[in-house]
């Protein structure tokens, strides 16, 4: 079967997403190779930070004969520089392929366009994709692009709510609003971001594990707790998160006025979310997923810090209960936040909606 460039790129994006839980801070990248007739030869993706790039995975096992006149389609411009792995552009330049199409230019201004140049210099046609999938291509490596362009932490927000917009009953009970399929998806999302972030109240109320429990993903994750007054440590012995996570993976964010000494966690001193995120960034954490509670959600939204929303809505009615945006007050419709929808799907009976800010 002959694939169009759009179809091949669609396949490459599906490949890219397979690496989602393991590649950060690298981008998710997928690659598809078509033979000279335009038929699928192979595909591959960047599987894990430090491991070979998508192009290398897709090329694995292919002979020079097979590659004669082939078309390499990759979601991101092949890298020009040698880093943990050799330059993909240089590797491609040595092959008898006819053409390379890449989805996005490398966002690093120091190397943008250089990969393409290396390939073209070798006499291989090389072009940037321009078409309807451009937006999806950006979304697939949105954390990576954001980090490069803004030098800031990418913030995703995950909400599990009832159909009437409640994240808990008025007495605080929230387990469980969504079903097992949606909760499994949440664990997949946790793996995709560098850390989970929650407020102190959520920790005290739910005593959550905040680790990754997923049949196909084994990974230690990092946890950030907003605890301005440094109250959590008093309860550390009864809190699961301090048992389940190593101290180097726990980040306790307190105000500058607090003097906190502990072996149980890193302590971050900051008096605003901006300051907190800056310090987190400087510690190498490039993306976080905010998981609650309502006050923390509201504050992140109010300050315009959220880039991606993951909203799970269960087909249930809870009535009067806890909201996730109670800290936001607007008085006219033109002040509302309009999100840009990107995904709508069901997990079990629950609705999963994903949108960019």
């Amino acid at each position: 079967m002959i694939l169009t460039v759009d179809e091949a790129l669609q396949l490459a994006m599906e490949e890219a997403l397979k690496g989602a839980p393991f590649v950060s801070p690298n981008p998710k990248v997928g690659c598809v190779i078509l033979n000279s007739k335009g038929e699928l030869l192979s595909k591959g993706y960047h599987t894990r930070h430090g491991q070979p790039h998508a192009e290398v995975e897709a090329l694995r096992g292919l002979t020079q004969d097979q590659l004669q006149g082939a078309h390499v389609i990759v979601t991101l411009e092949p890298c020009a520089h040698e880093g943990k792995t050799p330059s993909c552009a240089k590797a491609l330049a040595k092959l008898p392929i006819a053409k390379v199409t890449f989805g996005l230019v490398d966002p690093n201004p120091l190397v943008a366009g250089q990969g393409a140049k290396i390939i073209r210099t070798a006499g291989i046609q090389c072009e940037e994709y321009q078409g309807p999938l451009k937006n999806k291509l950006e979304e697939i490596c949105e954390e990576f692009l954001w980090n490069f362009r803004e030098k800031k932490v990418f913030v995703a927000l995950k909400v599990a709510q009832s159909l009437d917009g409640k994240i808990a009953l008025s007495n605080g009970i929230s387990q469980w609003i969504t079903g097992p399929e949606a909760r499994e998806k949440v664990h997949e999302l946790r793996a995709q971001y560098d850390a989970v972030l929650v407020g102190k109240n959520t920790v005290l109320k739910d005593n959550p594990s905040l680790n990754i429990r997923h049949p196909n993903i084994t990974k230690q994750n990092r946890v950030i707790i907003m605890d301005r007054k440094g109250e959590l440590l008093k309860h550390a012995s009864s809190l699961k998160l301090f048992q389940l996570h190593k101290p180097e993976n726990i980040f306790l964010c307190v105000s500058k006025e607090q003097s906190v000494k502990t072996d149980l966690a890193h302590v971050i001193h900051a008096n605003s979310l901006h300051e907190t995120l800056n310090q987190i960034y400087s510690l190498g954490i490039r993306s976080v997923m905010v998981e609650g509670g309502g006050q923390v959600f509201s504050q992140f939204i109010l300050e315009g810090l959220v880039q991606r929303y993951h909203v799970f809505t269960a087909p249930i009615i809870l009535g009067r209960g806890l909201d996730w945006t109670d800290g936001i007050a607007i008085t006219s419709m033109d002040k509302r936040s309009n999100l840009k929808p990107s995904d709508l799907r069901k997990f079990g009976d629950d609705i999963y909606f994903s949108a960019r800010a």
Copy 2:
């Protein structure tokens, strides 16, 4: 192309839905006819109350030759009795067809199975469909089935909310939460039910038209207003609904203690929602769509009166605002209302979710 029974029934259901705005209190019914080879010969649906049934529409223009050995697939058992139109079972019995498959047995116990019997007596195979589409078949004529089985008004509830579950800002502003595509769908839904129902506060706050504004549907509709203390009439001259609807199409529901005299509307005296719905039923209104506000929504849900939810969710965040279930208070998760999802779709950027209670 040869169609399976499931494929033909799926087509018949799509036909049935075309009649949705016009057939009440009749059921939506669709019919598909396959020739002796199993290929599509024709399709038809019940277009309007008082007009021919789906079988007649599908048979229109077909010759005896074409019908030789044909298979008639219809969503509901062909009617046995002569009503506004002749008996479909008797009409089918005279044809050279080989087989009739119907989706659901007629819910009227007085005639259930009789249509099938008439057809079988003529030597034509006739059977009730048993398969994966059974649930969808029930949903398509759920109002009709409910009316027959319960002798009660079928109640649907329509909510237009933000992603965080708000139906208005805290100052009451709600125009517009959803976009034009979703609002057009709402007008289609209005046509599908016998009346729209809203509370007094919604009328005073929004001054809504409550009529049907849809490019393909021209129909006068009925409006029911919950106005316990009979306060609305004082403002009648400035309220659009009294200008746009004829008095015989407006039903004003006040408490028994109120003595209200007016030429502008029917007055219904009742002290509970149950009483109100019973009186509405006795006036020939078989289905209503409740459109707000929050108090009315809460009361209908609390009293277990809702059969169908139509929830439109816009990808916007409104923050602190008005809820639609604020009158409901539960203290444990096992008391929550679990809905049965039946449809999830987008209208423009808005999410449309439909579920049974």
